[in-house]
């Protein structure tokens, strides 16, 4: 009996278990909170493109990113055409105006729409002369990848006419099959209106009126330096409205750990730093933590945003995952100063 007692004693001496973790309290933020839910269904990332208005704190519009292929600028004096970077679409200028030729996409070099001049200046804008007359150069469009990451093939496109916001465009497969012509009459109340190549006869109004939104959440293409070369990467981030918005990343404040975000006031704003580039907020308020295998949000990154109503806000991002742990649920806090 003594032996057994001894054995039990020895075993219990070396028995330990994981301690129950102490729970942590939450905290309250008094700034306004914005959310842009790009979380996808069925395992497809960042399906949505969203438009957010800071003044009303409202999500003004959202669409699936595969809803459109061609964006048309609505300014009657400044024609502009863009393809859908969120679908990894790219454009190659052929240098040729003969639409009937059989073009081989593999011999052309494709470029993605620039993040900096997003909304304002697409690659195909070069076709328009100073008076807005298209030169008729044939462009090849790489239709990118569908939501299941499958290649979608190519189209060739020629701009036939532009007249005070009305475009006439011809598209076909590179070998000339499935040629279609269509006309789009745009509404100057918007920055862009859209067309899907699946249904060229319907003009899509996906964007809210241009003076009613400030931030656009989407996947887009960005040039990144990988240590050797600049490469195009598909990123997910926040672009600003070209119609009156400007913003900047307050680097000094962000890096100064003695400054609390809640203490930032209008006095901290440096007006000369406001930048109208579409990607002045961009995507790098988060990074992919390889060890964790998840994105981490840099909530010390502080931004100032001037909205379409000329109000300046302090803004920082606080979350990238929803309650179920799905990525693309962007949350941010902001306060008019």
């Amino acid at each position: 009996m003594k032996k057994i007692a001894g054995i039990i004693l020895v075993l219990t001496l070396v028995w330990s278990c994981k301690k129950e973790e102490e729970l942590l309290p939450g905290w309250f933020i008094t700034d306004q909170v914005g959310m842009a839910n790009m979380v996808s269904e069925n395992g497809i990332d960042y399906q949505n493109q969203l438009y957010f208005d800071l003044g009303t704190g409202q999500l003004k519009a959202q669409n699936k990113r595969d809803a459109w292929d061609l964006a048309l600028g609505c300014d009657p004096d400044h024609p502009n055409l863009m393809v859908n970077s969120a679908m990894l679409q790219a454009v190659a200028a052929t240098g040729d105006t003969d639409f009937s030729r059989n073009y081989d996409p593999s011999v052309h070099s494709f470029r993605y729409e620039s993040a900096e001049t997003f909304f304002n200046r697409g690659i195909m804008q070069t076709d328009f002369g100073s008076d807005g007359t298209p030169a008729g150069e044939v462009f090849l469009i790489d239709l990118g990848r569908d939501l299941n990451n499958q290649r979608r093939g190519h189209k060739k496109l020629q701009i036939l006419q532009f007249d005070k916001g009305t475009y006439r465009v011809k598209i076909a497969n590179p070998d000339g099959s499935d040629t279609q012509e269509f006309e789009v009459d745009t509404d100057a109340g918007y920055n862009l209106q859209f067309v899907s190549f699946n249904d060229i006869n319907t003009v899509l109004t996906l964007e809210p009126l241009k003076d009613e939104w400030d931030l656009h959440f989407t996947k887009y293409m960005e040039k990144l330096w990988d240590g050797e070369d600049t490469l195009d990467y598909s990123v997910t981030g926040c672009l600003i409205n070209p119609y009156g918005c400007s913003a900047y990343y307050a680097e000094d404040l962000s890096l100064d750990s003695t400054i609390s975000y809640s203490d930032i006031t209008a006095n901290d704003i440096i007006p000369s730093l406001f930048n109208t580039s579409a990607n002045s907020i961009g995507f790098d308020w988060k990074f992919y933590d390889l060890d964790a295998g998840a994105f981490a949000v840099l909530n010390r990154n502080i931004y100032f945003v001037r909205d379409t109503e000329n109000q300046v806000y302090r803004l920082r991002f606080v979350g990238f995952y929803d309650a179920s742990g799905n990525k693309g649920a962007v949350s941010f806090e902001y306060l008019p100063l």
């Binding site: 054995i7 001496l13 309250f28 008094t30 395992g43 070369d229 998840a294 606080v318 990525k327």
Partner: protein, 759 residues
Amino acid sequence: MKLFLSISCFIGFSLAGLGQQSFLLEVRDAHTDLPVTGAYVRLLQANDTLYTVTDPTGRASFKSASPGRLEVSHISYMPYVKEAKASQTKLLIYLTPSQGELDEVVVTGQSLPTLARESVRRVQTLDAKRIQRQAAVNLNDVLRNQLNFQISEDAILGSQTSLQGLSGAKVKILIDGVPMLGRLNGELDLNQINLNDIERIELVEGPMSVQYGTDAVAGTINLITKRKATTKPEVSLNSYYESVGRYNADGTIWFPLGKWHNSLSLGRNFFDGFDDTPDSRSLSWNPKEQYFTSIGTQRRFKNLLLRYRGEYFYETITNLGPAGSFSSIIIPVDTGAWVYPRALDDYYKTTRLNNAVYADYYLGEHEKINGFIAYNHFKRQKESVVKNLNDGTEQPFGGLDAQDTTVFGQLSSRSFYTNTLKENKLSYQIGYDFFYELNRGKRIAGNFKTIADAALFVSVDYSPVSWLVLQPGLRYAYNSRFDAPLITSLATRFELDKHWIMRASYGRGFRAPTLKELYFFFVDENHNILGNEDLTAETSDNYQAGINYSRQTTNGSVSLDFTGFFNNIKNEIRLIPIILPSDQDRSGLFVNNNIAQTQTSGGTFTAQYRFKGLEAEGGASLIGIKNNLSFSEEAASEDVSGFRFNVQYRLSVSYNWEKAGLTPSIFLNHLGARKDLTTNAEEDFVLREFAAYSLLDFTLQKRMWSNRLTLSVGVKNLMDVTDQQVTGSAVGGSAHSAGSSSVPLSYGRTYFGRLQIAL
């Protein structure tokens, strides 16, 4: 009175007409139940003394036997004495192996259990005494204090080793000859190899691919499990506490059931994690919990010994993320929002299930068949969960690779037939080695692949003159996935005189491409990485030569050993870019290819000295590495193409104070600075220097209760080494940049206590 009865009985037998009764004796190893050859048997009778020696089946007989005192002795076993009764015509004797003497019996790569000294190849043994004195829990603890081994630590993948400068992917690890399964990125986690059920560890440096096939390139580690052929139940209990937060307990029971000798062991090892920063949620040394059990049974049927061993192992590694490592939950309310912190936690669960049936069959005095058939199963699950640190709820995380299960299954068998044509002159061994492996998991094309390999091998022991043994070997294999290389080896042993032995060998080793290397598949928006079905095996040529001096005296022994080696490894598998990433093709294309070459060379000197209770062992080794980058023309022009050498010293001293039942021991292992050639992002050469460090352990053992209870206390890592500094300096180019970092080695100085009870 007893004697009188015995004599009466004997007379009775004699009267029954059995006067010329022969007395048959069988001598076996108490641990393995294998026959003991060459045991010296003495029967002291009233009027005469008879002598004989056991044959290869462990048997000996006396033509005419009358009662007397029976003495059995063998250089590797504890002496055995018994009063033989006249009634007995047959007697089975179990000899207990003696430990720590110069002449230890080894089995790795041998056709029959052989004295280490007489083995054609140099076989080192780390016996139970060494394991106990070092208070080693797992294989990592022992190899940390072994020359030519270098251990590295990873929070997730565990402890990995390199031998003779070659990575653990090129080290074969066997349990009783059965290959261990579950290599992640080529390496086995040494922390998962517990020593509670291990009798001794046999190490062979240099390739043993003729017998053991793939991975036996740098060396082979064979773990020999504990076996006991007892007549009454025996129990051993073991508990261990280490101040860093390790709590281990295990126990084994050996019990006979009829003619079956059985064992059952159970254990749990728990580590509650460690970090330099107190109260940190994320720990640099992750908490670990292991449960393990094994059962064994063995029985002899005349000339056949059958044995089964089954083993189950389950480990959970908990890798907690720092608080806030995952996006917080934001719950907006009218005046703002509530934010609740979350963390991303990973659980890594490993399950191992090993089953093996062994058979040893003696066809005759000079013929024997040994073999096993085994099924091993390995499962590794990664489960990432997002934990709400406010309410404690967890939910699975859906990120890339957040949930992952890797499964390996292997059916294997190896058997060989040994025939001694002429005792001590000519014997040969012919056998087969077979395995069928399946691998299920992400990143393998189709998520499932199998591979089969069947090989025939033959090796001959030929001794043309008494002082020379030649051991040529050949292995021919068929593999279902690639062209298996033809493997040859030649080992020689020269006995210059009683004290001096010289050994020289050439051997070819190979490492087969893994299913993952063959069928790797990782294609998405940003990646395009593929395996390569056309891969062949990595092959090595190893040259080794050594000389050994040993002398045994009445109270002690001395042994000196010097060995030099050279390894040339070709066709090493590396991932190479076929298409570099560009604007046109952002992911490029990377494919595995047999492209790299590595050479290592070096020498090891060891000395052992034993005198009465004192045991001292010391050694030094020099290892030189020339990695793949060193072979490039650029390396030659930058003058960095040579071998890079590093030194290692080891010393262990212990003194057995028998009267007090006390044994103090110290273990010192010093690893000198080591340099490694790599390239930086600009493709310039960088020489990384890994700083020198020393590990020093002290243990004190106290035996009590007539050796049934052993208490050990001690300090591990007395010099409190935690990290190894790594400094890099660019070679050539215009920019000279230097960087510094560190790699984890240990959690620092700890104190331990261990209690072992044998009932």
